[in-house]
Amino acid sequence: MSLGGRAAILLWLLGLAAAVGVIVFTPFTTDMSAFLPRSPDPAQQVLVEQLRDGVASRLILIGLEDGTPQSRAEISRAMAASLREKQEFALIDNGEGGIGAADQDYVWRNRYVLSPKVTPERFSPDGLRQALDDDLNLLASGLSPLLKDSIARDPTGETLVIVRALAGEGERHVRDGAWVSADGKHALILAQTRAPGFDIDAQELALNDIKQAFSTARQSDEQVRMLVTGPGIFGVKTRAEMKHDVTLYSTIAMGTIVTLLLLAYRSPLVLLLTMVPVVSGALAGLAAVSLWFGFVHGITIGFGVTLIGEAVDYAIYLLTQTSAQSGPRSTLQRIWPTLRLGVLVSICGFAAMLFSSFTGFVQLGIFTIAGLATALTVTRFVLPNLLRANFAGTRGAAFAPALLKIVQQARRWRPILLVLLIVSVAMIAARRNDLWEDELSSMSPVSAADQQLDRDLRHDIGAPDVRQLIVATAPDDETLLQTCERMDAALQPLIKTGVLAGYDSPARYLPSQEMQQARKSAPPDRAALERNLAAALDGMPFRTDTFAPFLDAVDAARQAPPLTRQSLDGTALALKIDSQLLRNQGQSVAVMPLRNVSDPQRVAGALAGIGGSGVTVRLLDLKTASDSLLHNYRREALLLAFLGSGVIAVLLLVYFRSLRQSLVVLTPLAFAVTATVAILTAGHHQLSIFNLFGLLLVVAVGSNYCLFFQRGGLVGEQGTRTVTSLLLANICTVVGFGVLGLSRIPVLYGIGSTVAIGTALSLMAGAILAPRHSEAL
């Protein structure tokens, strides 16, 4: 081996060691939100943030069905008791005990600050008289020995006003001490994890706790079954399915590819050598991503390795095209320009991903670029040094001469290719208006059955299935809460006219300091209040000393320290306010869910003019917003794909300095992409964003085939070896990606099927459109 060869191997080994060194200290995450984009629009940012980390993302919905109602209730209570002891959960709500004691206490103690009815008029002689009339009716109608205490302390009924506002969320049904669905067929438990929904490991722990609690509790009635759903649960399931599918299909693919290569090379050693560039590339890619981002996403590894799978082709080209006569070095010299250009083309294609809004795709871009560059370098400088000088990759396969003949005569098929192209274009043109999946749910890896279960349980629980939201931002919490109060005033009249059924507002639990102050100064001082009360009591049957506790309570409220977010600690309302009052990029953000909006225009109209000077108010339709979010990603992906294709075209033009030569490479690719889209959208199928990324791969991999054909001169022994290597490389790609197409997970299915179809078409089109094979370059 030459000195240079030794140096190359030494450098390579050092590089590998360095890469492994970096990788060992790299944190790996499975945070699915890396594949949710960074978005410039603040309202969409809130949406993404909510999907990622919001309270809704932390909810787990549990339903118990079958068995008897009593046993369901019993199991619900037993499960709730055991889950309440677990650290993983911030809240377990199965309907026991109604509103929590801490919440009752908060509302009762702060009623004069929380009640929207607290105004000066309410404490005037007339206002009090009206309240006392009402109280008398309450007593007469038998509204309770239990109510008496509260009448003396809260004659104006502020607590009732607040409770009504809170209960406006919808009455829940409780049977045998446990929360049940309206039809009584499910016992319901709502769990909230401490960890955010994207923390799949934590969600898995929580799910295991729930299963454990159920299997223990269920011993009282084996008939009862449990249904569990929620964003975190989806995450856990998806990861498990993804792991399962990727493991299963890549095992199948690897098995097939290894068998194929073994058949071709008839040497395990050569098989190992084939893996040298791709393994080196994967390690280098991981190290590069780690150095750039400081962490590597699990999916980057999974997909990245698939994406740089084309690096296996490099070794295949070198090893298969090397004959005993030529030796690896001369083969390398011959194929090097093609190989180099092929990798450059691929890198240009993948570079488009660097500009994606999805962190995950940026990682994939860096991974593939670093990986392919490394694989190429290793193929060029290291691999030949690992081979004997008289190495011959394959004995000429029996079918190879026939294959070459087919390739040489492939020009005959040009008219058919033209017909196929016209048909494809016509098919796509006919579908131009519904070519794309524009629903975010199409990207969801969650099965339709699971989505239905989720909708049903959500409906039963009557919980966050909110479509319209108001998102308001302000520089600080106080300004924001004041804004919410102005919106309160604007929205209240709309409820009466049926424009919306209701809404929730953080100011309901935590009024602005300004509002708190206004409410505190609504009642007059004690002496004046006493006079007003005396005037109101004139002629009524109440004993005069009855309302001393009321006067004390108003006094106490006036002197109480202002309410802050900390005042809510320990209550269930704290969870609620944390989901509605957020900090985002130095701004305070309020999220106000609206219920049953019948006329969004009028809601928007009522809100007009509330924003201004650093305050923004936006009505957000979650469905429209998430669909338009997807629409934007797709447009971005499309733009990036065009950009990548453009750069590839320019690269080829510059390299060949000939339009004709460039077209020899580009035309088959254009055909392959067009025909692939036509096949994928045949029937009623629509293109997803994943198909688009798949097409990028088709261009990256397919360009290599076309470059080999473009060189022409596919004759004799060399020609045989070249076509054999191309066919082998393509079969490996089709098998590797084709099996991914069997998966039900949209991202695997989308990329897998696209690449398998597209690369096969590229190979065929490349052969058919190749220049005459006599004109060797």
């Binding site: 038998g142 239990l146 205490d149």
Partner: protein, 198 residues
């Protein structure tokens, strides 16, 4: 101090949601609470007029209310107060619905509020002849003869006990004629019931 949140409507019941029943069942041999309950269990529906007098320490004079009561087996109970102010309270299964003259309507799931449930069941499970439910909430002291009996119900629930000493239900045959509630603080209500003749 008791917070009224969640138990705010408990009072509905102490005033007595009650009903009278047709007397169409002869007293059985071996008279006792079981026999009375078995007889009451036979009643399909009943309606009655009531007059209620309440003595409340907060007020300088007793207040008088009147209206109608009705019961339909197995679990529907309705109390319509016509004076001093119009008010309807309906218990249907586990759902308590109230309509008040000032527009403050409400719906409560009593199963979620054990105190309300305890007090409603005092009346409803008596009317339904459902002894196990009644015994779940009350210790029963029974006395009298078929032609005049009375049941003293002492609440088992601690929180109800803090408010209510005893509910006394008196009647003749399967007709209930009085429901009296003695509260812890000395307040008292007595409802006199006159069955409507079918």
């Amino acid at each position: 101090m008791r917070h009224l949140l969640g138990v705010v409507f408990c009072g509905l019941l102490t005033a007595g949601i009650a009903s009278a029943a047709d007397q169409n069942t002869a007293p059985a041999a071996g008279w006792g609470v079981e026999a009375l309950m078995a007889n009451l269990h036979q009643i399909r529906s009943a309606s009655a007029h009531f007059v209620e007098l309440k003595t409340i320490h907060m007020l300088t004079r007793p207040i008088r209310a009147e209206g109608t009561l009705s019961y339909v087996t197995p679990d529907r109970l309705e109390k319509i107060t016509t004076a001093p102010a119009l008010e309807t309270i309906r218990l249907d299964g586990q759902t308590l619905t109230g309509t008040r003259s000032n527009g403050d309507d409400y719906t409560v799931d009593i199963a979620g509020h054990s105190e309300i449930a305890a007090m409603v069941e005092g009346i409803r499970s008596t009317l339904a002849g459902d002894l196990p439910t009644l015994q779940r909430y009350y210790t029963i002291a029974f006395s009298g003869a078929p032609e005049h009996w009375q049941m003293d119900l002492a609440p088992k629930d601690r929180r109800v006990r803090e408010k209510v000493d005893r509910i006394r239900i008196a009647g003749a045959g399967t007709v209930i004629d009085t429901i009296a509630v003695d509260e812890k603080d000395g307040d008292r209500s007595e409802m006199t019931i006159t069955p409507d003749r079918p």
